[in-house]
Amino acid sequence: MKWISDDALLRLRDAAEEPDLEGTPYRLIRKVGAGGMSVVYLAQDARLNRNVALKIMNVSDESGNLASRMTREAQIVARLEHPAIVPIHDVGRLEDGRVFYTMKYVQGRRLDHYVASRPALTEMLRVFQRVCEAVSFAHSCSVIHRDIKPENIMVGAFGEVLVMDWGIAKILGKPGEPRTEPLRYEAYSEPGPDQTATLIDPRANSGNETADGAIIGTPAYMSPEQAAGDNQRVDFRTDVYALGAILHFILTGSPPFEAADLRTGQSQTPALRGKVQPALEATCLKALNHDSEKRYASAQAMAADISAFLDGLSVSAYKESALEKAARLLARNRPLVILILAYLLMRLLVLVFFRR
């Protein structure tokens, strides 16, 4: 029996772990991430000579439920053609029966790493605005993400933003319409490396509908209705809440309710108070409102407030005092104000000079 060194043992372990891509046009390059139920590899598509991310199940699936869910996940993402949503290229089944799909290989930083690099606030808000736009687009396709968190957002080297991991996304009825059809999609998700764990209640995996009481999502970014497992109340505003939590993370470096009780006792975080401009604080807190009816009605409305803030306009979430309004107008029109002041000063000097 041949002796195997420690290094060789690691190489053999990797070899045994690698999926067999024989019969597919993909050649495996290396593992880039792993979660509770799937692994993501960097692979090369030999037909087009391009790198792709290949996601594959890594858990037993004798019933075939996970395979069909993974196929549905790919189908959901495929219908979301948006520059800020990671595009799916292909879906298939390996010789061993496992379903995989390939998607764009995104090179960039996760939002949490990006925020840690301390970019300017306006730059971060522009990134956030694009996240809101992507989520808003998904909502227009009746898809809610349900697991928006910094680890699922990638920021590219050229400022491009991609919302990833639609593993527990859900299709709703059209916005504003009552849900008359049963929920068609229920999938699983997994915590990637260094990710905050995604909670999946086993009851949620029992069928295509989300069982009431099943908890799906990531605690720190989870809305109260999601945390309570009240899936009848989970809708687009659930994602709005998560966007509020993301904005909180951008503004303070931490999620709003890190150690909060999931089902009860979520109270407004004091972390924002006095640290950011009142308009931004109000925007964030409106999205984080415990009562979903009092949140932004849509991700688009939230994006509009962020856009208004960046443009120096008033935001819908905050009622300014006259003084604040004047200060904002002054700040927004600073060059004009300086010109006027300079003109007035010059007139004053001229007046004083001729009086002598």
């Binding site: 029996m1 041949k2 002796w3 195997i4 060194s5 420690d6 290094d7 060789a8 043992l9 190489r11 053999l12 372990r13 070899a15 045994a16 772990e17 690698e18 067999d20 891509l21 024989e22 019969g23 597919t24 050649r27 792993a34 692994v39 890594n58 858990v59 037993s60 196929t71 790919a74 189908q75 495929a78 799916i88 292909d90 879906v91 298939g92 089944r93 390996l94 010789e95 061993d96 029966g97 496992r98 379903v99």
Partner: protein
Amino acid sequence: MGEMHYSKPGAGDRFPPTRLSAIVSARAEDPDERQRAFETIISAYWKPVYKYIRLKWYRTGEDAQDLTQSFFAQAIEKRFFDSYDPSKSRFRTFVRICLDGFLANEDKAAKRIKRGGNVQTLSLDFEAAEGELRATREPAAPVGEDFFDREWTRSLFSLALDSFRKKCEQSGKQIQFNMFERYYLSEDDSKPGYQRLSSEFEVPTTSVTNYLAFGRREFRKALLEHLQELTSTDEEFRREARSLLGQEP
């Protein structure tokens, strides 16, 4: 989006063919079945046991040989493994605990050995195990559970590699095995690339890709077959597979 079927008809052999658990068979009433089960268990465990005794219990090579023989002889005679409960621990953890208990009473055992007690002598290549110990890096931390587990993993992988080699020899696929061995087990720092393997084995690069893919598939299959033999329940098997490979079979 339609799902592309990359699989071949009849494919789907990710699950290894069911192998009887040696842990379960070790409790059988049939002495032949029990004997075969113990042989399987001993083949995977004797080296971890020997090395553990050497490094954890600071025994000389000679003592460790006697104690290894004695441990397995007693395990067979007193049916240590009958009391194993998979809901409480992994089998390898259970073996280590049994071994620690056995060694704690080692004085008595040693005396028995010196008296030439009823120790059934197993044919084990202790010289090879001693050579492996010399080749292994000095453990950075005090030898403990991790060491035993790592040696158990090494032993399991060696068994799988051996099975894979035999299978290749029987089916005339030595080149596939040799390439796999060259690619994954080369000890020199410069792991050969596909081009180098292509020229070394005088096959096109596409064949290198296919041969290595075949090797990975067959090695994995052999590994899971051995793992199945060395676990007692399906749950334990899956747990161990996840622990070893980061994924369930």
